[in-house]
Structure formats: structure tokens, C-alpha cells
Amino acid sequence: MTIAFLAVIALSLLLALLSKRGHLHQKAEDFFVASGQFNTVLFFFLAVGETYSIATIFGYPGGVYASGTGFVTWFLGYILLAFVVGYFLNPLIWRAGRVYGAVTMPDLFRRHFGSRALEIVVTGTALIFLVPLGMQQFLGLQIVLKVLDWSISPLLLTCLAGVLAFTYIAISGIRASAYVAVLKDILLILAILLTTLVALDHWGVGAALHPTAAWKHAMTPTLKGDVFSITTVLAQSVGFCIVPQTCAYVFTARSASAVRRAQVTMPLYMLMFPFLTIVAYFALMHPTQVGSPNEVFPLVAQALLPAPLVGLVMAGAALSALVVLTGICLAIGSLVSRNLVPGLNDNQQRQWSQVIIAFYLLLSIGGAATSSQLLVTINNLFYFGIAQFLPGMLGILFARRMRPSAIIAGIAAGDIVAITIYEFALPVGGANAGFIGLIVNFAIVLAALRFSPGEERRPVAAITQRQ
């Protein structure tokens, strides 16, 4: 198991080194967004990597195991519809990125609205809500390391994983992420298929619960559950397209068509989810000692697969966390070095971002060591804040008039409302707190648009395409 795991990690480092070929002296834009040179295939693997993060392979079966199929509706629903929204929105975000020479999402806000204050607010909000996401990847990595059962301090191993993520980034930034993402996705598909097929082979053996009873456990609908599912799907499917690292991935694409072609095939990548659902129900039918719902998938794999294959499965899971982590780190590094600290040259941007990334990795390791939240809960919290960028982004793409001050007020109000509802568990009929925050946010922006629309700007959708 250990040899298989380490072989995959070594292969991933080799791929990261290969990604540097022909790009020995990277400028900041090449380090962060590959100078917008990725073709459909590389963009696809980079963008779809977010779908198969550690929250998917461990968090999704854990969510089904803990919360049933009500969870499936919102989790699958929002990712699926995010690809649909992305087909229409991402080519415009790509165009905005090109027109404004953007490396980060706040670059768009600064250059379109000409407002440094708005840039700082968007950057600050993104940074705050990105912090738990790194923690989420390390929580997943801790589960992988637990299964590997090495007699080394878990904290030291987590730190080594952090060093590995930093190494990928230091080698060639986003290019290394994309190359390793290809290996990671191949491994994950194999891992999910293998585990599911073996689970199906053992389906009736030693089952303590009939399959129908297991399905029913999960299928008791409630009005609150349905309201939560619908509002979460609505808020997060659009929120997915304006995640800072998703925008950075879109900026790596060579052309608008490359983005559209990749978006068409992305939903098909979700055909792994039915298999993950089967693994969760296998665990429900065969009660075992599950410490945390997050451990359902690795425990089933460990119980059914031979050791070398468990090593491969765990390597795939570890890479999924590391690839997503590198994407988050690069997003945070660029947010700080380009948007929070202005006026840095190319070299300084890279140096600043590497220092910030190292600090962020340490912070995330510390957070993971002191938390045991469900991986998917962290996912919800992340979107509370990120979804609030929607009115501003729609303003960049479609609106002729929108005041930066109204966008700032909307983001602040949306965040405060969402966090207050979540923190104090205010009764809102089951609705997603981020969705309610978004409604308040839109109300403020639209009211400002009605009573004080501000100066006219050309929206990106109306910019004539230069062939």
C-alpha cells in the first residue's frame, strides 16, 4: 500500500517538473493563469478538478451516509447546474479577463469600475471565505494518512503534505496544477470504479439492513429539506462560477470556444456520483465502526480492496486534495500580491505570493488539527460569502450602470445577513443563509440602480469581439 502510494506521489512530482518545460522563466501572469494558453483539454482537467476534490470523494459519501438523499439533491444539483450556468457565463468572464488583463477576479472589479475600494472589499471577502477551504483539504488528507497508518506523527505528515503542495506551486504555478490534475482525475475515476465494483460484488454479504430500508432512510422528504435543497442549488450553482480560483481557471483558457467545449462535457464527468452513492449505501447496509461520516469511502475501500489498490485509491484522494489546495493557494497568493498590495513587479508578485501561500498552508494545517466538521458543511460556509459577488459580476458583464459603492454595500450586507442567520440558527424556513444574503444584496444593488444609477460604462457582453 505504501509503495503504491509513494510511487503515485513521485509520478505527480515528475509531471509537475514536466509542466515547466518551455516555461523556465515565468512572468506573474504565466505563474497564476498560464498566460491564457491552455487548450480545451488542460482547461477541462483544471476546471473539473474542483468537482472531484476531497470533499467529493470523501465528503459526498459521508453526506449521503449522514444526511441521506436530501443531501444528494443539493450537492449533485448545484454542481450539475453550475456547469450549465458556466456554459453561458464563463465565456463572458473569459472575455472580461482578456479585455481587462485580469489575473484575479478583483482585477476585473478594479478595472471595470475604476474603484480601489471595491477591489479591496472583494479581495478581503474572498480571502476570508477561502481560509476554511484549505482546512477542508487538510481534513481530507488527515483521513488518507489515518488509513495509511504510518507510525509517524499525523501533524508531521500533514505538514509534509503542505510542503508537497507548496513544491507543486513553486515548480511552475498553475501549470503544475493542471498537469497533476490529469493524473489525479485518472486515479480518482479508477478508485471510485474499483471500490464500487467490489462493493457491488459484496452487496448482499453480511448485510445488516435491506437495500430498500437503506434507501428509505435517506428518502424521507421534509418541506424544510426541500427549501434548503432548492435555495442551495440556486445560490451555489451561480456561486460556483464566481469562485476566485474558478475565475483564474477560466482566465487560463486560450479562447472562448475552448471554455464552451469543455463546459459541454463537464456534466458527464459527474457520472461517477452514482457510483459514490452506491458506496455510501453499502456502508449503510454493512454497519461498521465509522469514526466520522467523512471516513465512509476510505473504510469501504480498505475493507474490500487488496492493500496495493488501497494505496492507489488513497493516492488519488490525496492528489485530489493537493490539486485543489494548489488552486486555492495560487488564488490567495495572487489576491494578496496583485490586489491587496498594489504596485509590485513580476518578481515581487511571485515572492510575495509564495510567502503568503506558505503562511496560508500553515494556517490551514492548524485549523484542520483543531476541527472535525463535516467536509460538506465547510463547502456551504464557503459559498455564503462567495455568492455575494454575483450582483457585481453581473454588473461587469451586463449592466450599463452600477455604482461601486452599491456593490460594496450589497456584499457587506449579504455577508452579514448570511453569517448572522447561520451563527444564530435563525429560523428562515430551511432556506440557505447565503441565498437570503444574496437576496438582500440584490435588493440593495437594485435600489441603488433605481435611485442613483451612477455613470455609464460599457458592459463586457456589449464589447465588440476582436477576432
Binding site: V84, G97, L271
Partner: protein, 79 residues
């Protein structure tokens, strides 16, 4: 394909197939081979969404001239 048809097929059909359809199907006590209908339908929505986007691509967007915009990352390109 008209822009209206593109939007209907590309956005309305996938969205309506998931919400409110899945929560509504969840209220029916119907299962196929022991699997609840809502869950099966949600899994069917995956290829359906891809098919809808493929129709938009082949029926409309593929024929649009592709955009290749040169950019200046320091100052932004002039629109």
C-alpha cells in the same frame, strides 16, 4: 437555432429538470429496483444536462466566430 431556443434548451430545461422536479419526485413512494425514483431521475439529469449544452454548441455556438483577444496583463487591453 434562435437565441430564445438556445436559452430555453441550455438553461431552462436543465434547471427545471432538477428543481423543482427532484424534490417533487422525492414525495412519491415509487422506486425502481429498490432505488427511489427521485434519485434515479437526478442521475438521469447528468447526461441530460450535457445533451442540452451539446445542442446549444452544435446548434448555435459552434458557428460563432471564435474570440482570440490579445491582452496586456499590466494595464488591460483596450476594448
Amino acid at each position: 437555432m434562435s437565441p430564445f431556443a438556445r436559452t430555453t434548451i441550455g438553461i431552462a430545461v436543465p434547471f427545471l429538470s432538477v428543481i423543482p422536479t427532484v424534490p417533487l419526485l422525492g414525495r412519491l413512494d415509487i422506486s425502481v429496483f429498490g432505488v427511489p425514483l427521485a434519485l434515479l431521475w437526478l442521475f438521469c439529469c447528468i447526461p441530460l444536462a450535457s445533451a442540452c449544452l451539446a445542442i446549444c454548441w452544435f446548434g448555435h455556438d459552434r458557428d460563432l466566430p471564435d474570440e482570440h483577444i490579445d491582452t496586456d496583463y499590466d494595464t488591460g487591453a483596450a476594448p
